[in-house]
Structures are given as C-alpha cells and as structure tokens.
C-alpha cells in the first residue's frame, strides 16, 4: 500500500496543473507549470523537446518538487501539497516512449487525442520525454491553510503534523 497520504493521493489524481521545481544550472530553483499525472505511486510529467530546458536541469540534478496549490484546477479540493522526489528522464525514443502514460494523460485532458491526431502539424511538440518522479517526502496542508505548518509524510514513517 502506498505511503502517500489519502488527501494528497486524491489531489494528485485530480490536479490539472502543478508547479514543478527543478534545480537550475546555477543551483537556483526553476519552476514550470505542468500537467501532473499520477499512477498511485509515482508522479509523471512529460516535456516536449521544444520546452526541454527542464530536462537538461533534471539530467544534471534529479532532485525535484511538485506543488499542487490551485483548488480551481483540482476540482475544488482545498488541500495543498508539495511532493519532493527524485526524477528520472525516459526518452529512449522521444517519438513513442512517453505514450505509455497516454491513458493517464487522456483521463485528465481528453483533447490530447485530437491533437495527437494532428501530429503532422505539431511534429516537435509530440517528440517528448517522460519524467518519472518517485516521491520521498510529502508536505501537505489538508485545509489549504498554508499559514499553518504542513503535515509531513515520508516512506519510512507515517505522516505526521
């Protein structure tokens, strides 16, 4: 059974946008709003080669975090969270490899099939890398009040406030 707290699991499954922060070339935080995909154990995001600076950063340093903070983009869920984790980039075949998470993508953005059908018009957009994030620590604010201290969960221990 996943160690991820239930409210965070629910949030990851619902969120249409997250802010993913990677470590930049000079050690600075670099944040990208992205569509987060969640299979119950790992967070996935994909990146087109068009917007691939984040991939360069992750390949240099795989430490990342993903924040979900916008109730409007989460079906009204008030919970907010930050998931810290280790990212790996899969891009054996930028044309195909990422398509293994297509069912998760389709569930959140059904229009993707329409755009994929027009792949010829956006060939570079669909040359993509898959970023897999294995969570190592989760901070969450169940009531969404970020002025309070977050609850914390790690794989080693149960979540605590």
């Amino acid at each position: 059974m996943s160690w991820i707290p239930a409210p965070v699991d629910e949030l990851l499954a619902a969120a249409l946008v997250c802010e993913m922060t990677v470590v930049g070339a000079k050690g600075q935080p670099v944040t990208h709003p992205l569509l987060p995909l969640w299979d119950g154990e790992r967070v996935y995001v994909t990146s087109s080669v068009l917007f691939s600076r984040k991939l360069e950063h992750i390949k240099r340093d795989g430490k990342v975090s993903v924040a979900i903070t916008d109730p409007v983009a989460c079906g009204g869920l008030a919970t907010r969270c930050t998931v810290q984790g280790d990212a790996r980039v899969f891009e054996d075949d930028p044309h195909e490899t990422w398509t293994r998470i297509l069912p998760l993508w389709r569930a959140k953005e059904p229009a993707i099939d329409f755009f994929l059908g027009k792949r010829f018009a956006l060939p570079l957009f669909f040359e993509r890398s898959l970023i897999e994030i294995t969570p190592r620590r989760v901070l969450w604010w169940e009531d969404g009040n970020v002025e309070s201290a977050p609850s914390v969960a790690t794989p080693e221990g149960a979540g605590h406030g």
Partner: protein, 452 residues
C-alpha cells in the same frame, strides 16, 4: 519589472514560492501576496514553512481554466526570481528576473515556433550523447505532403485544365498530352515550392517567422528538423528534373518553338522567384511572377501542347485565374510581412500599409471578376463561364476578413482558406463553362447563344 507586469501579477489569487532546501531538494509553498507596483515589490504573506532570506527564490503565479470533457484552457503564468527580505510579518521580493507566458498574448502555436531552436539544440545534444542521429519522426507520406505543400497544386491544376479545355473547344485534345502536361506542371510547381523553402531557409525568412499558418510561412520541414537542407535540395532538384524532362519531351513531340519559349520562361520564373540573383519576390514582384507563371504561362502552355499554336482566348481566360492566384500569394504574405521585411524580402504587404493592402485586394479581385463578365458577355470565352461570378461573395468575405484580422495571423487563417477557395471555385467554374458549352454544341443542333 514594469507596472504592467505587477498589474498582471495582481490578477492571480496566490503565488507559489520555491527554493532549494539544505538537503538539495526544491521545496515549495503556496502563499498570499500583494504586488506593489509603486515600490516594485511583491509582498508575500506569512507561511507555515519559513521562507529563506539567504538564497534565491522563484515565485510563480499560474492559471488555467478547467474545461470538463476536453482539459483546460487560458494557460498563463509569471515566474519571478530574486531574494527575499523580511519586513514585519511579510517577506518582500524585488524581482531580479521575470519570465512568463500567456496564451492570450502569445498563442500556443507561436510559442511552439519560438521554441524550435531549443528543440533542435536538445535533439542535437541527444544525438551527440547517443552517437546516432535523433530527429523528429513523421511518416514519409506526411513528410512529402508537408515538404511539397501538395494541396496547393490546385494552383497548377486549374490553369492547365483551362488551357486543355480551350484547346478541346478548338478541336485539339489528346489524353496523354493532357496527362503529361499536368504531371510536368505539378513537378515544376513542387520544384518551386521546395526551392522557395530552401531560399527562405538560407535567407532566414522562415526562421524569423514565428507565426506561420497552413497557408503562410513555408512548409517548416527544415525549421522543424524533418528534412535537412540537403534533402530539400535533392527533392527540389528531383522535381525540376522530372518537370523539365517532361517539358523537353513535349517540346520534341510537338515541335513547337512557342512551347519551348513558354517552358523556358516558366522554369526561369519558378527558379528566380526566390533564387538569387533576381529574387523576384524580394523585390515586390512575387505577385506579378506568380500571376504570369500560374496564369498565362500555364494556360497557354497547356493550350500550345494540344494545339501547337497560341490563342488569344486562352490568354484572356488566363487573366482572372492569374489575378486570383496572385491574390492568394498577396493575402498569404500578410501574416509574414514583418518577418519577410526583416530579412529584406520586400513583398507588397511588407511595403504597403494596411489600408493600401486591403483596398488593393478588393480592386484586384473585382478586376478578375470584371474580366470574366466582359469576356463572357462579348463571347470571347463561352457564355456559361459567367457562372464564375457566383464566387463574388467569396471575394467580399475575404475582403472583410482581411479588414478584420489583418494583425491576427491565426484568425486570418479562415480568410486565407476562403481566398484559396475563391481561386479554385472561379477556375473550376470557368472550366465548367467550357464543358457546358462543349456539351451544348455536341447535343444541340443550334445551341442558344447563352450556352456557347
């Protein structure tokens, strides 16, 4: 950071503050904030996670609007970097750097085009890393279709069909000559399309164009890394070899000096449309070149292949088609006017102002229809060809579209499509006029004047 950006930032409900923690992992928290444009500060409210003042932070505000059943839209974000300092209960950021995207200001397709360089850089790095070329993939059929801009061959098919129709009415018709003419004309057209892309890539015109559409800005196969410049050159050369070979075959088969002259002029115009030293399109002569090439040269060429002589009627019927195909180029150049102008490609829309370009379209389009009306009324072309006037409302639609969307490349796309449609409809209507006249003459002993 200017006051406009502070105003934009204020429209977001909250920000996310990110920094790199002591263990090397990024950490983030949402926060309330207030943008103070006067002081150039972003004031961040109290957070449960203490915000650092000893390292750089990234403050991001982002927005989407969920669209059940499809996904989301209204994507925008602002990203600010700098160091925080405490001020009472608040932490204050004076942004040192700002980045962002708002799809309402920079449409997604433009954003994608602006990122082509990064894509090529990344794929090159991947190629070096792996020791084998990594490039975008598209089926050979799609790649060929894109590279050659095959759907635009209607510009060749229409005048050649008309030339054949005029010849057939004069009693000259051969299937195999008609077929060879079509294939040869199409090959030269493909040679022209690909050569245009090659020279626009070399001059930087296509690279500088961030708002291409399906009608403008070239095929983009070079910019998107689908084909190399060398492959495009091979495709172009191959098309010209096929086209010229067919042309030579037709000249030899028909023994016509007129055909030789027309063929040589056609190939020369096609090559020097963008090729140095003439670069006709750079000198504002693109429309005239296109009108000549896809008007009289194609129509008369197709006629001479069949009849082995020239024809005033073929010339007259080529004029409206010539004007309308020139207008296809003219309107398609509107969204490219800045990128074209920036590399010295001084097309008419790059030279003229909005009002002149818009009026110029209307005058030229009306002139094309006037030629049809007069030629049909005086029986220079068959009277049933007057049905081409049925496309007049399209001219008005295109005119209105140009007026309304002159500065919006993507919104102008529908208008560009209608403009292409107008050339096709008028051309096919003229062709149908010839067919009706032919049929009437074949079926009726003395057909009424309106049908011939």
């Amino acid at each position: 950071m200017d006051s406009d950006l502070f105003a934009k930032l204020s429209a977001y409900p909250h920000v996310v503050v990110s920094w790199i923690d002591d263990d090397g992992y990024p950490v983030q928290t949402a926060a309330r904030f207030r943008a103070d444009a006067e002081k150039g500060e972003v004031r961040i409210g109290r957070t449960g996670l203490p915000l650092p003042d000893d390292r750089e932070v990234n403050v991001v505000a982002s927005h989407i609007r969920p669209q059940p059943g499809t996904g989301y839209d209204q994507r925008r974000y602002l990203s600010l970097w700098g160091r925080l300092h405490g001020d009472g209960d608040e932490m204050v950021l004076r942004p040192a750097r700002v980045w962002g995207w708002d799809e309402a200001e920079t449409p997604f397709f433009e954003y994608v085009e602006r990122s082509n360089v990064q894509a090529r850089r990344y794929m090159h790095a991947l190629s070096v890393e792996r020791g084998e070329e990594v490039k975008p993939r598209l089926s050979p059929v799609w790649t060929f279709l894109l590279a050659t801009r095959l759907p635009f061959l209607t510009a060749t098919i229409v005048p050649i069909l008309l030339g054949i129709a005029v010849a057939a009415r004069d009693g000259y018709f051969s299937w195999w000559l008609a077929l060879l003419t079509l294939v040869g004309g199409a090959a030269i057209h493909i040679g022209l399309n690909t050569a245009n892309d090659i020279f626009d890539a070399l001059s930087g015109a296509d690279e500088a164009n961030y708002t291409p559409t399906q009608f403008s800005g070239g095929s983009r196969v070079i910019q998107r890394g689908l084909l190399t410049l060398r492959q495009m050159c091979a495709l172009s050369a191959g098309a010209y070899v096929v086209g010229i070979s067919i042309g030579v075959t037709l000249v030899l088969a028909r023994g016509s000096l007129e055909l030789l002259a027309i063929g040589l002029l056609g190939v020369a115009l096609s090559v020097f449309y963008t090729a140095p030293p003439l670069r006709l399109v750079h000198r504002g002569l693109g429309e005239v070149t296109t009108a000549l090439g896809f008007g009289p040269i194609m129509v008369l060429g197709a006629y001479v292949v069949q009849a082995q002589k020239l024809s005033w009627e073929a010339f007259v019927v080529s004029v409206p088609v010539a004007i309308l195909i020139a207008l296809v180029l003219y309107v398609n150049e509107i969204p490219d006017r800045y990128s074209d102008g920036s590399v010295g490609k001084r097309t008419l829309p790059a030279r003229l102002g909005r009002v002149a370009v818009t009026r110029g379209f209307l005058i030229a389009a009306l002139a094309a229809f006037a030629v049809v009306l007069v030629a049909a009324a005086f029986g220079i072309i068959p009277r049933p060809a007057i049905i081409a006037l049925g496309a007049l409302p399209l001219a008005w639609k295109v005119y209105r579209g140009i007026k309304a969307y002159y500065t919006s490349p993507y919104e102008l796309m529908a208008t560009m499509g209608q403009n292409v449609q107008m050339h096709l409809v008028v051309g096919l209507a003229l062709f149908a006029g010839y067919m009706i006249a032919e049929l009437a003459s074949a079926v009726l002993d003395s057909p009424p004047a309106l049908l011939v």
